[in-house]
Amino acid sequence: MKRISCWLILCTSVLALNVKAQNREGETGFKSIFNEKNLKGWHLSRTSHQGTTPKVEIEDGAIVMGDQPFGQGGVLLTNKSYSSFELKIEVKLDSFCNSGIFIRSNEGGAAYQIELSKPGNTGALYGERISPSKVMYAKELDKVWKENDWNEFHIKMVGDTPHVTLWVNGVLMWELQQPKNDFIAGATEGMIGLQCHWTAVYSSSASQGMPLDSWRPNAKVRFRNIRIKQLD
């Protein structure tokens, strides 16, 4: 009886997982790029000015990022590059924690960035080490934002001359057609990157560093349910 129960539980679990996978696949043809167990398929940038040694852990099926050592951030990158795609990702953000979702990133973390910062301009399109021809702001974000909770970002990036669209929690925030390709050397593909912002320089002889509100002590940003649909 005990053995039958075990089999039943196992079969039900497998079935549930399949249904979950089919639902995601069936929903829009998205594929998971984070296995919820380890960082297979991801790596840390070794050339980002944010830092190269951030703390990255997996907790409850989510990627959790923080500074390490104190004041040094970093960028977690997919191993694979993407050109035109739709990305869906859930984010939970501590306050005073400047993070971002990088799209078409190079190894050094030069990319378009969907800003993640509370307080701040969460949902804005900025550039990280590149200058977008146009920036955008998610002016209606507060209407859909769930404070201290998971929020889903849906980013669509299409074309050599980027056409970018952002939805947060299923609601359209903005849509943008850039007039030209802003990426270094005219790149038309790049990696997905998750940012942990730096605050400290190596010595005060360099400068005073970034204000501490770019990354509050022990602040964390969390990412989960990361899935992508390639469009080319």
Binding site: T47, R129, S207, L212
Partner: protein, 290 residues
Amino acid sequence: MIMRLMQLKGRLFFYLIFILFFSTAVSYLHAQHRVVVNFIGIEFVEIQPGKMIVGKYQPTVSRGWGYDPKRKSEFPQILPETDFERAEQLASAASRPGFMVTIDKLFYIGKFEVTQSQWEKVMGVNPSTFNQELLNVDTRNFPVESVSWKAVQEFIKKLNQLDTVNSYRLPSEFEWEYAARAGATDDIAWNEINKVAVIAKSTPSAVGSKVPNAWGLYDMLGNVWEWVEDFYNEQLFADPVPPQKGSQHVLKGAPFYGDVKNATYMTHAGGPGSKYDVGFRLVMFKKNSK
């Protein structure tokens, strides 16, 4: 009249002494940064032995504009004072004294990053992404880039075969940092970085377009990342003894799109980089003396 002549002689003697002193000082300064040129025109600067501290970490805690209640901010909230106190504790706990490194032999290091034309002279092709075709300008004097560490080893092997007098290799990380510091004991200030480094740009620039460091070396910071000999240890800074093996090699110096944050002597990055942002400079020795 005699008195007048004697006064004139005294003045001439003073001038002579002044000129002698000045010319000696100039030649001494020149000797400190002696430049030698190899058979294909690559210039090298003589670097004298010495010591430096590497890996000293004194992380800053900045209150910045967010703390100033008088300044209008787009963010109305202000970080609580307890966070600054906690940050000071964490910064103190994370600080490290670094370690002493001795450069015990004189060496010659490239005055500039190896250029596209220098690479082409040796290898017959130009692998660079930012070539004349892409930029529509003469890029012969731009740093060669899009070169893997292995490709650089091929270049060095060929150069060593061609040169009968000198031999070449990549600098060690410590040689590179020692040359980049040019005697500086602490890290470089942000306003100085902008004078010496090509950063925050969308393409590299011709080598030597910024001012040199105190030892006459150009573009040690910025323009392209530079390969060094050592394996990468996946840490913030180098270890006193570099690892004997690894999957990547260390990159120093920061790229053309870099930031004042990482365009410093101290930044210890790792390959592979973004291909188009990685180049190198050489060190040179008399044959059989390395």
